[in-house]
Symmetry: C2
């Protein structure tokens, strides 16, 4: 099976069997396929599609391209959450300690930010000295000791994905459901989980803007979870505005620590609400309890009692980070930043927020990456003042940009201001945080 | 316009404007597009198509990526023939001298063989010391002196095609009509021609096996010719069996010289018939005469009078080749070969010939290239004995393989024998050499 024959087959819209998909993934890993051949096939897959069987074969072949973690010696149920990515989406950093405090083991392998969306690893690295590059042995040790371990993907876990994802990013083939499913699920299946909750974002800051696409992706993810015997549920959540108060790496950790400390500002409430919901669903899926309300109660209790904060502190310590940030979250904030206020040009009601533009603005002042090789300034960020549906007066503050200097601010000021659509009349649209929950029967 | 945006556009089936297509071709030439981005876009073009306007824009951008030859100082009408490739298809080597003898200037830029089809340059190189790498200045000089010049594509003519074609070959995106049209027509338009006759092959040895596809390609080529103001006509000719007697580089030159010398064996007749037809159409298109029968007569006269042979001899001399092959064609044949007879396993009628298999067999004993970097053994080849419709007795000779040794023969013997389908009853199918002539009104 040479590359040309396989490419031709998908080019002409035929279906692959599992052996053909394995041959492709093997070729990616052993480098007998050239990059231009991989990207040609990926484009053919993007346009002509993969059915459920092919999608599962691709997931399996990618999963088997590397190591599958084995936490069977840890007796707690293993569960994780994965989000499709958004702006200000920092729930992982709350969910992991909350879930651990409720009796789950959370072996969370995360990624880095690219484009307008942030990545958990970058956020964690804004905690001084926090080590996100754990060896498998250390990952196991940290997980066992505190119930959560937060690390980047080692080169031996799903190596095929790393290569394929980089090519997809460079060839406009990211937003294909079967390719997204194989990429996410192969990595999550490699974590050796009992349960997985997916947070599929929809809206102006999500990869899948339309709710219809998000629903389709959620279903496809759940189906693949089911077919691999992993209990999977997907929550479709709103990304028509940044989640919670802050956007920016250190600021997002700050928000999470504030919440874990019970110092919850009103703008932070959605971050907490979504985190509670996702964690509660992990508890039910992993059979900690069979009642969702009871699960929510347990999660809230883990927050109120301070046990989740304690878990996070323990974890930071085990991963060599400065755990004092849990006692004094201000340590996370850089005093050398200037604050630039974004003001409303007119009075009215906020009817739309271009969330992607806000993510890009933070990225544009160094808070994210345009290219994989870009360095990040963890300190810069944005605080959302007004949210969808809020009334604003002329010149009232919409948000605050935390940046290095005026010149930097000037680059993104107009973009931020234009991200807000102000209308004369209040919009009667409902701004629901959680739009739906998707699961498939086994 | 970054690569991802352009790729995304064609991926989603949208139409490109000419500026977008130029940006792509510029990116190919200045290497700001990576190979994997080029191949992703090419695959999207293959699957989602290019309309006539896009096809013309691509042709134009590719043409303008390099030098356009200018033969305005040569006062003769300039014409060329181009074939889409076949097995034993050696008409270029007859047409160029025949057309030159009839008063045309033929600036023929040819390619090399790949896979089952041969290439004019390889055939020419089987003439000892023949130089196919002419500088532009030498090309001009040779053309002016003898009316025909035969050379390879220099790096400054349509450089975009070289890069794109290599990627298409490696990514199963060769057989797309708009991509074929842009590749062929950009190179032919760079020759500064007044008239172009295309020989579009159809059948078991052609890239476009089906006659419907061949007809569609012929029409697309003619339309692009018309849109660029180049008089273009396409002949759809049969490639359900090798053309003429021989397959293999030196053997094909031998067949041409024999024909030019008037020593025409019956199996060689189709080679001559097709060459006369294509040359006569070049004469009419280039306004040497407006009557096709008169043109045919002139071509036959150029053959009978020996003036075409004289042109070829002159050309070989000017391109530093051993022109004595025109006086003694046996100089072309290597005496160190062995002859292996392919015999019919049964009595009956030849109803089908897998022409591609015959091309691949000759390629398999060194007569062609599987990879671009392969070296060719010019001497090896195959002589067709029986043709479509012929009656054969059991063990009668179907053809003769000329190869280096028995081991080499053993590799391809079964393939050659199986290439012939023998039936009990004669087939009442007509085996027409010329199936149709396509032109589009201007």
């Amino acid at each position: 099976m040479n590359p040309q024959d396989l490419i031709r087959k998908k080019r002409d819209g035929a279906r692959f069997n599992s052996e053909e998909i394995s041959a492709f993934v093997r070729g990616v890993c052993d480098e007998t396929w050239a990059d231009y051949q991989i990207s040609a096939l990926i484009m053919a897959m993007f346009i002509n599609g993969l059915n459920q069987t092919e999608q599962n074969s691709l997931t399996k072949a990618m999963l088997n391209s590397g190591k599958i973690l084995d936490f069977s010696r840890i007796k707690l149920p293993k569960a994780d959450k994965h989000s499709t990515g958004g702006v200000g989406d920092k729930t992982s950093l709350l969910i992991a300690p909350l879930a651990a405090a409720c009796g789950l083991a959370v072996p969370m392998i995360s990624g880095r930010g690219l484009g307008h969306t942030g990545g958990t690893l970058d956020k964690l690295e804004s905690i001084p000295k926090f080590n996100v590059n754990l060896t498998e042995k250390d990952f196991h040790r940290v997980l066992k000791k505190c119930g959560l371990a937060l690390s980047g993907q080692t080169t031996d876990i799903v190596p095929a994905d790393k290569k394929i994802y980089a090519l997809r990013d460079a060839t406009a083939t990211v937003d294909s459901i079967p390719l997204i499913v194989a990429s996410i699920m192969s990595k999550k299946l490699a974590e050796g989980l009992d349960a997985l909750v997916l947070d599929v974002k929809t809206g102006t800051g999500a990869f899948m803007e339309s709710e219809l696409d998000a629903r389709e992706l959620a279903k496809a993810l759940c189906k693949t979870g089911r077919d691999f015997g992993l209990k999977t549920e997907a929550v479709i959540s709103d990304m028509n505005q940044p989640l919670g108060k802050y956007v920016g790496n250190a600021h997002e950790i700050y928000e999470c620590v504030k919440i874990l400390r019970g110092e919850i500002e009103p703008e932070m409430q959605p971050t907490l609400d979504l985190s509670i919901e996702l964690t509660a669903r992990m508890l039910v899926l992993a059979n900690i309890t069979d009642d969702l309300d009871e699960a929510r109660f347990q999660v809230e209790d883990a927050l109120d009692s301070g046990s989740a904060l304690e878990k996070f502190k323990q974890n930071i310590k085990l991963q060599n980070g400065n755990y004092k940030v849990c006692d004094n979250p201000n340590l996370l904030l850089d005093k050398d930043l200037i604050e630039v206020k974004i003001k409303s040009p007119e009075a009215g009601f906020i009817s739309e927020i271009d969330t992607k533009a806000i993510g890009e603005a933070v990225c544009g002042i160094g808070g994210g990456r345009v290219k994989v090789s870009d360095k990040i300034d963890f300190a810069v960020g944005y605080a959302c003042g007004k949210k969808l549906g809020n009334a604003v007066k002329q010149s009232e503050i919409l948000g605050i940009l935390y940046c290095r200097n005026e010149a930097q601010a000037a680059k993104v000021l107009a973009k931020l201001q234009m991200a807000y659509k102000i209308t004369d009349e209040p919009n009667d649209r409902k701004f629901e945080l959680i739009k739906d929950v998707v699961s498939v029967s086994s």
